[in-house]
């Protein structure tokens, strides 16, 4: 099966098609993680995006139920160099190709992904279309131009849960004969988590740290949240542009100071706006598992997982209220901040990892500590 990728600027890549037949479109971004493709597929933050993986060998270890970050894949399409037709891993239950087909995700393989990545790096992320049906590239380029830009799109409310639910289970070791973490100790805190496209490992982590988590829809009002009598509020990651999420900004403004708040990724950006800051779009974003982030207080470096196209402009934040806590060493993007006198801190990157290094797990403990202090 042949497949074509057409970009809005007219660049075209021809390759082989796997997964689902058909057509898909979205903003094309690249991710440099070596491992964790299943987590990437199923990360709701990728709604509206097609992902190029720089690791050329994808699908090798298949897919399994434990490693998904949500109910289904959210990427619109996948672009790889080599797509494995078999899977080899003791946990694998489905060959990646079948997995993608089952969830109707087209895969474009066998193209010069490095050339594509360099193109995106130099020209910035852009819209594109993958088709296994259409052969007329002009038509496809036209389609790519026709799809809505990511800027200004509120995708959080699209991917968010439509009902409130409670998350029960913490992290589980994938190792069979390992006893740790098979049971979760009783929850000591109640956290209400705003679902802007939340990754399940965040929920597992919070539960693992002794929190009962109630997940609520993106547009839940501050009052309804407070009515749940939480010990803390969590602002999740999610897709799209933070600016249009004005409802979330208002709710957070109203929760600030009344609840300990911890935010990740989109949650961090929305908090930034709520604190009076501005967000802007990065040329090609941060997507990968190897970003060095400096903790400004200690000078220590964490290797962290990133997945963001937007960032908060540090200069736009009121220095008097907001302390910058984390910086990306590659390009000095703001990666973390906290309020100087209110119980609120957020990070732009992904301490829950999945996929990615675990260097930043401590942040979940910090959140619990913050709730403890506020409880007293």
């Amino acid at each position: 099966m042949q497949a074509i990728l057409a970009l809005e600027d007219g660049r075209v890549f021809r390759g082989k098609g796997y997964g689902a037949k058909g057509e898909c479109s979205g903003e094309v971004v690249f991710n440099t993680s070596i491992t964790g493709y299943q987590e990437i597929f199923t990360d709701p933050s990728y709604a509206g995006q097609m992902v190029v993986l720089t690791n050329p060998e994808i699908g090798n270890y298949g897919t399994n139920p434990e490693d998904s970050e949500s109910q289904r894949p959210y990427i619109e399409g996948l672009i790889v160099r080599e797509f494995s037709k078999v899977s080899s891993n003791w946990r694998s239950q489905q060959v990646t190709d079948e997995f993608m087909e089952q969830f109707r995700i087209p895969v474009l393989a066998d193209i010069d992904t490095r050339a594509l990545v360099r193109h995106l790096r130099d020209n910035g992320v852009m819209r594109g279309v993958i088709s296994t049906l259409e052969d007329d590239t002009d038509k496809l380029v036209a389609k790519a131009r026709a799809i809505p830009k990511m800027d200004g799109q509120d995708l959080a409310k699209v991917v968010s849960t439509n009902h409130t639910y409670v998350w029960e289970t913490g992290e589980r070791s994938h190792l069979p004969d390992e006893v740790v973490g098979v049971r979760d100790d009783p929850a000591r805190f109640h956290v209400v988590a705003y679902d802007f496209g939340i990754k399940q490992n965040i929920l597992r982590k919070l539960r693992g740290e002794g929190c009962k988590v109630t997940v609520v829809p993106a547009q839940t009002t501050a009052e309804d949240v407070l009515a749940l009598k939480p010990d803390g509020v969590f602002l999740s990651n999610g897709p799209g542009d933070p600016e249009p999420c004005t409802y979330a900004v208002d709710n957070i403004r109203r929760l600030m100071g009344r609840q300990p708040i911890f935010g990740i990724c989109l949650g961090h950006q929305i908090a930034g706006i709520a604190l009076g800051g501005k967000t802007f779009k990065l040329k090609f974003g941060h997507h990968g598992g190897n970003h060095p982030v400096k903790q400004l207080s200690s000078g220590k470096i964490e290797i962290t997982a990133h997945n963001h196209n937007f960032a908060v402009d540090p200069d736009s934040l009121p220095q008097s209220e907001v302390e910058l806590t984390h910086m990306d060493l590659n390009d000095n993007t703001l990666e973390g901040m906290r309020h100087r006198n209110l119980p609120l801190f957020t990070v732009q990157y992904h301490p829950e990892a999945a996929p990615g290094p675990h260097d930043s797990h401590y942040l979940f403990k910090d959140f619990v500590k913050m709730m403890e202090e506020c409880k007293r």
């Binding site: 987590e39 690791n55 090798n60 270890y61 080899s88 003791w90 490095r114 220590k300 590659n330």
Partner: protein, 1101 residues
């Protein structure tokens, strides 16, 4: 944290001679460390006994000691250095010199030397080293941090070992503490095996202890390369997955980066473990290598070991990622933190990150069992390979196939001879040929399931091999002309070489490859070059570190600068080792200075030449006609002139010179025709006649009959060998017809359908190596090296001394004269090496005093193994000058006096002795006698102002202890007996007792020496071997008796190796040993810094 200011002087410990398990990678790491620390303004002192290394170049360090790496000599170096700077902050960096350096550091610490001279360790502290290296401490540490390890017990005697094995059940792994490359390790499937392996292990372990361990054979094996800084930032540079599962030493496994079959969860757990390990062991700064085993069906993960230093794998990881581990490790050791060091490749981003790959890297080991008949060829926990290649491709398949052709085996893929009968055995028992047999099995239609069951190789890898096989079958369906372009492109993308395609399409002979090349170009199937950039293109890269692949976009647009392409030497192997890498690097340095863009092509990850900043451009590619020619074409495409140097990389590039030239490539320096002439027996013979230079009578033959015929005509003994091989591969000395018959039968396999040479074997002749520089008109001799062992023992295997010690002046003059003539006749531009043999008149008929004849053995119009040695001895960088001659500069610019006075390069007041190092301990059962076939893996140098001391130092450096008292066992050929007497007297005068076998004893007694007689092994007991085992003998002088050494001597030499008793197999070496011992008895331990020696010489002028 910025640079430490409490240190100003740093002593870097090298790893000594190249041995199996500790190879060129430590020249790479040591050189990087020297450069890094020097550029930070530290006073760098280097100790390494290996003269073939780049790190021992006078420029690399402020003071370079080419001295034995033993406690005594190190203490002396430290004493001298301390005296030079009584109050300086003085540190030792022991983490870039392999196991040797770590063990030395421990000895120096335990021996109180560090304390005495107030020297500190940086990089790793003793406690950390011991914790990591002592297998038991290590396991305790792992359990403390909750990590799983194979069950085990440390034993120091057989009984305990057998008992414990009984508890955990067979098979068990036996691993001696503190040995390199798992020397002495093994797997025992039953009690008997255990007794044998354990006994050997205990003997080889410096600590006389072994670990008996639960077997995790067949598990997946992984390695992580970890770095840590003083602020406790820890990063993983690279993950490596072994294609061959647990049970095959990582050094003998095909390995793949990054890991291919781990999910993120599993990988991150391994990452967390690695970080926990480096913290627990307490390696403060620098790189470590941590190995894991993973149960393929349950995921249970165990820690196998940690190396608290840079290692073979970190060299591989550096080349695989573009992240210079050793360089960064050195900077971390002096206080920098990872975030303070920039990433050279991206410039804008810091070194504090984890490299990500958008390609696949495959490393394949190279073995040379053909050189060690009788050795056990199966692969296990002990490393046996002598070198390795690395290949980069966009997929595993492409990288693997590139790697296979980079191995330079001389055999075509598919043409290997397969014995179907042993298929199962080859699949089940790891063996160098396993990959070939897996290919065969797939072709025979075995399923992946079946093969996986037999090999325990991960099915994903096997599936990749199957896809390659399927493509092979697809290709066989069409003749070339009608193969669909898509299939062709697909095949090239998979890594199929033109050669293999030609074979597939039956386009045999020379033209075949070419046909394929033209055909594919016609259809626009051409390689492009992509960059290794540490970041998968996320950031711009400023270093052209390149690999070829069949993709859309090329990232290596050639520049308009005039260029020189230098062909490297490929995988390390016996006879073609690090010396050639030294020459390639020097050529690159020199021509860079001269304003050329230098372009290196090589596929050996262990080397300095494949460091991305050695040359302006690095192509990490196989050294085959296809790959090299493609690069030459690509580089020429911008129109700038391109010259190619084939002279420095040993035989591998030489074999390419004619085809390259035929394809229109501009080879600079000595012409391929001259090179060919020198290798071509007939034409070269004629040339020698014209120049009237004697050569051992010989002939060139193709058939058994011819061979026998010729041998009879020439007269036995004769030396038989294939033409065109380096390192005297597959040579024998034949004393009779049968030997020739046998030889000719298998000769075909190696001689690569070139004829076989038969020469009169010159007995009892002094051999001499001469290295010279020539620009076609003027010639300067770099050095005339007198071999200690006589002709018949490969030049690479015999010790030699510079300057010559007892060759009469007229003979030296004659050799100079011959060398000049040859250089001019061959129009040599660059380097030339000539080997001479001078039969020692005695034993000849007639009235004895006729002028000895100087025979030419061979001429190599190229860099030779001894170039680095001579350069270190003379202080003249011969390879650099040679490179400059090749671009048209004249010898007069560099060495005017020598040309005027017709003198050789000056060696000053010192003697320089080079001695070989052999891998016997890796190959139990192999006879250790020396012959015309090279078997040494490395070399050392001894320097002193008298020959004896220099020789003694070289011996010590080579691990051969020369005793200063005790008993010498002597058993020599009749022919050696007369001369032996005088040497025996010297031993007695020095207080030694003598033991001898009858024949020898008779002569010695006649000369009035007291001798204890022993039986030969087959005569009765007590025999020589009994005495050796009973520690009654400290030195052995045993020269082979004529044609085929008796079982006797083999037994003696073997026993000696196990008992670590120095065995001398030639008379001349015996003389040298006597002098050496005399020097030791004088008792002085003196060291010389190379720079001081050179300065002294300049001053003298």
């Amino acid at each position: 944290m910025p640079k430490r200011t409490d240190i100003s002087k740093i002593l870097i410990l090298g790893s000594g001679p190249i041995v199996i398990g500790q190879s060129a990678e430590f020249d790479y790491s040591g050189t990087q460390a020297c450069k890094a620390l020097k550029s930070e303004g530290f006073e760098v002192v280097l100790a390494n006994s290996n003269p073939a290394t780049i790190m021992t170049d006078p420029e690399s360090a402020d003071r370079t000691y080419i001295e034995p790496l033993t406690r005594e000599y190190l203490e002396e170096i430290i004493r001298v250095e301390r005296e030079l700077a009584p109050s300086a902050g003085f540190a030792i960096l022991p983490t870039v010199g392999g196991q040797t350096a770590l063990n030395l550091a421990i000895e120096l610490a335990d021996g109180g030397v560090l304390e005495k001279y107030n020297v500190i360790l940086i990089g790793a502290q003793i406690s950390a080293i011991k914790k990591a290296e002592d297998r038991l401490f290590f396991k305790d540490a792992m359990q403390r941090i909750g990590l799983d390890v194979p069950k085990s017990a440390l034993v120091n005697n057989l009984k305990d070992g057998v008992e414990f094995a009984g508890k955990i059940g067979f098979p068990v792994i036996i691993r001696p503490s503190f040995t390199l490359g798992g020397t002495g390790g093994g797997i025992a499937y039953n009690r008997e095996e255990l007794m044998e392996v354990l006994a050997r292990g205990l003997d080889l372990s410096p600590a006389h202890e072994c670990l008996i361990e639960e077997s995790v054979l067949g598990w997946k094996e992984y390695e992580l390369e970890v770095m840590r800084d003083t602020k406790d930032n820890v990063i993983i540079i690279c993950s490596i997955e072994n294609f061959d599962p647990m049970g095959v030493h990582t050094g003998d496994s095909i390995t793949v980066a990054p890991a291919q079959t781990l999910t993120d969860r599993e990988y991150q757990v391994m990452r967390d473990a690695a970080i926990a390990v480096i913290r627990e062991i307490g390696v403060e700064t620098g790189g470590s290598n941590i190995q894991f085993g993973v149960n393929p069906s349950t995921g249970r993960m165990v820690v196998i070991e940690m190396n608290p230093r840079v290692s073979r794998s970190s060299a591989l990881a550096s080349k695989a990622t573009g992240f210079p581990i050793a360089k960064i490790a050195a900077k971390l050791a002096v206080g920098y933190t990872l975030d303070e060091i920039p990433n050279d490749i991206t410039r804008k981003t810091p070194a504090c990150f984890e490299p990500t790959l958008d390609y696949v890297v495959v490393k394949i080991p190279k073995w040379q069992f053909e050189k060690f008949p009788g050795a056990d060829e199966s692969l296990g926990p002990q490393m046996k390979s002598v070198g390795e290649v690395m290949a980069i491709g966009r997929t595993f398949k492409e990288a693997l196939l590139k790697g296979v052709r980079a191995l330079d085996t001389g055999k075509k893929v598919g043409s290997e001879k397969i014995e179907p009968k042993i298929l199962t055995q080859r699949l089940v028992t790891p063996h160098p040929e396993r990959l070939t047999y897996v290919r065969y099995a797939l072709r025979q239609g075995h399923t992946i399931k079946q093969i996986a069951k037999m090999t325990s190789i991960d099915p994903w890898f096997l599936y990749q091999l199957k896809e390659i096989n399927d493509m092979q079958l697809e290709l066989e369906k069409h003749p070339m002309e009608s193969v669909p372009t898509e299939v062709l492109r697909e095949a090239k993308r998979m890594g199929f070489s033109d050669g293999r395609l030609a074979g597939t399409w039956r386009l045999d002979g020379k033209g075949g490859q070419e046909k394929v090349r033209h055909f594919r170009k016609k259809h626009g199937v051409k390689p492009v070059y992509k960059r290794v950039d540490t970041c998968a293109a996320e950031f711009e890269s400023f270093t052209p570190y390149l690999y070829s692949t069949y993709e859309e976009e090329d990232e290596a647009a050639p520049t308009a600068k005039k260029k020189v392409v230098i062909l490297g030497s490929g995988p390390n192997r016996i006879g073609q080792g690090i010396e050639f890498d030294y020459c390639c690097c020097h050529a690159s340095y020199a021509l860079r200075e001269d304003g050329y863009e230098t372009i290196m092509i090589n596929c050996n990850p262990e080397t300095v030449s494949t460091d991305y900043d050695t040359s302006d451009r690095l192509y990490f590619e196989p050294l085959t006609l296809e790959d090299v020619f493609a690069i030459c074409e690509h580089e020429a495409s911008a129109g700038a002139p391109v010259g190619v140097i084939v002279q420095f990389g040993g035989q591998t590039p030489l074999n390419l010179s004619l085809p390259l030239k035929a394809a229109g490539v501009n080879i600079i320096g000595t012409t391929p025709e001259s090179i060919d002439l020198a290798e071509d027996r007939k034409r070269f013979g004629k040339l020698l006649e014209e120049l009237d230079i004697p050569q051992a009578p010989g002939a060139m033959v193709a058939s058994v009959e011819e061979a026998v015929e010729a041998a009879k005509k020439i007269g036995f003994p004769v030396l038989v060998r294939p033409s065109y091989v380096l390192g005297g591969r597959a040579m024998v000395i034949a004393y009779d017809e049968d030997t020739i018959q046998q030889y000719m039968k298998q000769a075909v396999e190696y001689s690569q359908d070139r004829p076989v040479l038969i020469d009169r074997f010159l007995e009892d002749a002094i051999e001499v190596d001469v290295d010279a520089l020539s620009d076609g008109e003027d010639v300067v001799i770099g050095g005339i090296m007198q071999h200690i062992e006589e002709a018949g023992i490969h030049s690479g295997d015999s010790s030699c001394v510079l300057p010559a010690v007892d060759i009469p002046a007229p003979l030296l003059t004659r050799m100079r004269d011959y060398t000049f003539k040859l250089a001019r006749a061959l129009k040599v531009i660059g380097l030339m090496n000539v080997q001479f043999a001078i039969p020692r008149g005695h034993g000849h008929k007639g009235n004895g005093h006729h002028e000895p004849i100087v025979y030419v053995l061979e001429v190599n119009p190229r860099a030779s193994r001894t170039v680095p040695f001579v350069s270190k001895a003379t202080g003249v960088p011969m390879a650099k000058i040679a490179a400059r001659l090749m671009i048209g500069r004249k010898l007069r610019e560099f060495l005017p006096e020598n040309i005027e006075r017709g003198t050789d390069l000056d060696t000053g007041r010192c003697f320089f002795v080079k001695s070989p190092v052999f891998p016997w301990s890796k190959f139990p059962g192999v006879d250790t006698v020396l012959g015309p076939e090279m078997r040494s893996t490395g070399e050392v140098m001894g320097v002193a102002d008298n020959f004896g001391e220099a020789f003694a130092k070289a011996q010590i450096a080579a691990g051969q202890k020369l005793p200063i008292k005790g008993t010498v066992f002597i058993s020599v050929t009749d022919h050696d007996k007369p001369a032996m007497v005088e040497v025996a007297h010297r031993f007695v005068d020095m207080g030694f007792k003598l033991v001898a076998t009858h024949g020898t004893a008779d002569i010695l007694e006649e000369s009035g020496l007291g001798v204890e007689r022993v039986y030969k092994v087959k005569e009765g007991r007590p025999n020589a071997v009994d005495l050796i085992k009973a520690d009654r003998i400290q030195l052995i002088v045993n020269t082979p008796h004529g044609p085929d050494p008796y079982f006797d001597e083999k037994a003696i030499r073997r026993a000696a190796v196990t008992a670590r008793i120095t065995t001398i197999t030639t008379l001349s070496a015996a003389r040298a040993a006597a002098e050496g011992i005399a020097a030791l008895l004088r008792g002085e331990v003196r060291v010389q810094a190379l720079q001081a020696l050179h300065a002294e010489r300049v001053a003298a002028k």
